[in-house]
C-alpha cells in the first residue's frame, strides 16, 4: 500500500463504513459486510481447548480441525435448542468471525503490544494516561445480527449488551431468521421451514412479523441425520463401517467396493491423544459429505414404508434406482442402495427411526416430524391466513439441500392440506439456501433507508438492554 495516499473513509470510519452482518448458527457462524452477496467469513461455531505447558489455550475457526493436539477438546457455546449456553465463549467465537476476516484486530495497548519494548529500563512513556485502552473491535461498524424465532428476551438483551459494551458498536439491530428468509424470497407473509444443524423449525411470518404462537421447532436437524447415518453404518453389511478421520491414517491403498480397508493407522499414546470430541468433529465432516453425495429423501407420494397404488412397495421402487458410491477416508468404499433413503425418512415418519442404543438422540416422537410441526404451526395461527402461508412456503437452511427434500415436502403438504394452492419457494441457488437469512440481512443493512431502524449507542445508553425488545419485534 502506498503510504502517501490517505486511507479511504471506509477504513477509518465515517459515512462510508459498511455495517457488519453476523448470523450465528449452531454449526457455523456467518459474518460479512452488508451489501455483499455472500458472507466473507464462514467459521465453525465450535472452538477447541487444550493445555500447553500448564496454560489453557483456546483456538477458533478452521484451526480447530488442523492439528490433533494432546488433550484437544471441542466445544460449542450454543445449546442444541439454538440458544446460547456459554456467553463468554459465544462472544469470543462470534468476535473471531469478524476480527479474523473482516475488521482485523485493532491496535492494542502499547504497553502490551511490544511496540514500546525499546524503551530503556524504568522509563515509562510520559503520556500513558492519555492512551486509550484497547480500541473496541466494532467501534466503527453498525452491527445487524440474526436470531431464532424462539430466542428469549434475556438472551436478546445479553446480545445487545455484548455488541454495545464489549464490541463498541455504534448501532445495532437484531432480526429474526424466519423474517429475513421470507423477505429474501420476496415475501412479507410466508411459512418458513428452516432445516439447520441442530434444529428444524417452522415459522409463520405474517405482514413481516413472526406469529409467535405458531413457531415450532424440533431437534431433527442435520446432526440428528448424522446420528442416523452412524446407526446405519453400525448395522451395515457386509461389514459395519467405522469412520476413521484422516489424522488417524498414515497411508491407504485402494480396495474394491465392499472389501475391508487396507490402511496403515496412526496411533496416539493416551497422553498424546486428542479428546474424543475432536474425533467426533472430524467424523462429522465425513458425514456431511455423505449427506451431500449419497443421502436421498424418498420423494413420495406416501412414506417410504408404504405400498404404492399399483401394489408395489415404495422400498422396492427405491431399491431399483441405481445406488450411489461413497469412499471413506481409509479407502473403504461401497455403493449405497435403499438404505440411503432410510436415514432421513424419520424426518417425515417417526416410525422409520433407526434405533441405536449409543446415540445421544432419542427416537423422535411423531410430533417432532416435519409434517406434524407444520400442522401445529398452522393450528397456532388464524384460520384466515393459513391459505396465504401455504401458498408461500419458504425453504431455507443447509440441510434442506438434501437431495429430494423439497419434492417430499411438496407431497406432504399436498396430502395434509388439500388446498387449491400450495407452493414452495426454495432458491435453487445453494448460497441463498445455506445463507438465506444472512443474505437478507446483508441487503437490509446496506440500504441508506435502514439507518432509522438501528438502535443507536445513545438510545442504548438511555434505555438499557431492554430497548431491544421494544425495537426489534
Amino acid at each position: 500500500m502506498n503510504p502517501s495516499i490517505p486511507p479511504s473513509t471506509a477504513e477509518y470510519g465515517g459515512d462510508e463504513v459498511s455495517a457488519i452482518v453476523l448470523d450465528p448458527g449452531f454449526s457455523t457462524v456467518r459474518a460479512g459486510f452488508a451489501g455483499e452477496d455472500t458472507p466473507k467469513s464462514l467459521i465453525p461455531s465450535y472452538y477447541g481447548k487444550y493445555t500447553y505447558e500448564g496454560e489453557e489455550k483456546i483456538i477458533f475457526g478452521d484451526d480447530i480441525y488442523v492439528t490433533p493436539r494432546p488433550g484437544l477438546s471441542i466445544h460449542n457455546p450454543m445449546g442444541r435448542d439454538g440458544i446460547v449456553e456459554d456467553w463468554d465463549m459465544a462472544e469470543k467465537v462470534w468476535e473471531y468471525s469478524f476480527t479474523s476476516r473482516l475488521t482485523g484486530s485493532k491496535p492494542g495497548n502499547p504497553l502490551q503490544n511490544g511496540l514500546n519494548d525499546a524503551l530503556p529500563d524504568g522509563e515509562l512513556p510520559t503520556e500513558m494516561e492519555g492512551i486509550e485502552a484497547e480500541e473496541k473491535p466494532l467501534a466503527d461498524s453498525p452491527l445487524l445480527m440474526t436470531e431464532s424465532g424462539w430466542n428469549p428476551s434475556k438472551a436478546r438483551e445479553k446480545t445487545i449488551e455484548i455488541a454495545m459494551e464489549n464490541w463498541g458498536s455504534p448501532a445495532f439491530y437484531l432480526g429474526r431468521n424466519g423474517v429475513l428468509a421470507a423477505f429474501a424470497s420476496g415475501k412479507a407473509s410466508a411459512l418458513v421451514i428452516d432445516v439447520g444443524a441442530s434444529n428444524i423449525s417452522v415459522t409463520p411470518v405474517h405482514d413481516g412479523m413472526i406469529l409467535k404462537r405458531g413457531v415450532q421447532h424440533s431437534p431433527l436437524g442435520g446432526d440428528y441425520i448424522s446420528s442416523q447415518i452412524r446407526a446405519l453404518f453400525k448395522a451395515n453389511s457386509p461389514q459395519p463401517i467405522t469412520i476413521t478421520p484422516h489424522y488417524l491414517i498414515s497411508s491407504k491403498t485402494s480396495v474394491d467396493a465392499g472389501q475391508p480397508p487396507q490402511a496403515v493407522y496412526k496411533t496416539f499414546a493416551p497422553e498424546k491423544a486428542p479428546h474424543e470430541s475432536y474425533r467426533a468433529l472430524l467424523e462429522e465432516r465425513t458425514l456431511s459429505e455423505f449427506k451431500e453425495c449419497v443421502v436421498q429423501v424418498w420423494p413420495g407420494p406416501n412414506r417410504l414404508t408404504a405400498t404404492g397404488p399399483n401394489g408395489i412397495p415404495n422400498e422396492e421402487i427405491a431399491r431399483s434406482s441405481p445406488g450411489r458410491p461413497f469412499e471413506f477416508p481409509d479407502g473403504y468404499n461401497q455403493v449405497f442402495g435403499v438404505e440411503r433413503y432410510r436415514v432421513v425418512e424419520s424426518l417425515f415418519d417417526a416410525k422409520a427411526h433407526i434405533p441405536d442404543s449409543e446415540s445421544p438422540f432419542p427416537a423422535p416422537t411423531p410430533a417432532q416430524t416435519l409434517p406434524e410441526l407444520i400442522k401445529s404451526a398452522l393450528n397456532g395461527v388464524d384460520v384466515d391466513i393459513r391459505p396465504h402461508l401455504l401458498a408461500n412456503v419458504v425453504v431455507t437452511g443447509a440441510s434442506s439441500l438434501l437431495y429430494g427434500f423439497t419434492d417430499r415436502l411438496n407431497q406432504e403438504l399436498l396430502q395434509n392440506f388439500p388446498s387449491p394452492r400450495v407452493r414452495i419457494s426454495a432458491p435453487g441457488n445453494t448460497t441463498e439456501r445455506r445463507f438465506g437469512s444472512w443474505v437478507g440481512a446483508s441487503i437490509l443493512a446496506s440500504l441508506g433507508s435502514f439507518h432509522q431502524m438501528w438502535i443507536s449507542k445513545k438510545e442504548y445508553e438511555e434505555h438499557g438492554p431492554s430497548i431491544v425488545d421494544k425495537r426489534c419485534k
Binding site: 412479507a188 413481516g208 432509522q452 419485534k473
Partner: protein, 151 residues
Amino acid sequence: MSLNSGVSINDECVTSYKEFSLSRGKTKYMIFKLSDDKSEIVIDESGGEKDYEVFRNKLCDAKDSKGRPAPRYAVYDVEYELGGGEGKRNKIIFISWVPEESDRMLRMIYASTREGLKTALGPAASIHADEKGDIEWNTVLYEASGGKAGK
C-alpha cells in the same frame, strides 16, 4: 416497529390514493414502485381502463432498469355484485407483485417495505403474487369481496 427496510412512502402516494378511493371507479387502479435511488415508494402510473386484463398485463410487464421483470405494488378498485338484489359494492385490494425472476435486492426491498405502504394506504384487502396466475380476476374478486364473490 417490526423489521423493515425503512424506505419511506412519498406523500403523493397517500393523497392520490385518497382521491382514488373517492373517485367512484373513475380511476380503476394505481401502480407504485421503488424510486431509482431506492429511498422511497412513488407512483408509477394510474388508469381508468375498465378491463382488468389491461391492468394485470401492465403490472406483470413491469421491468427494472436492466430490462428484467421487476416487482411493483398496486391497488385495484374491485366491483362486485352482492347478489339477492342487494346491488353492487366496491372494495379496494392491495397487490404486491414480486416475480421470482426479479433481482434479489429488489425482492428483499419490496418484501420489507410492503407492510409500510399497506398501512399508509389502508386498503380493505390484500394479496401477494409472484406468478401472473396468482392474480386471475376470480382470485382477486374472491379476496376483495371477502369470499362473497369469485372463485
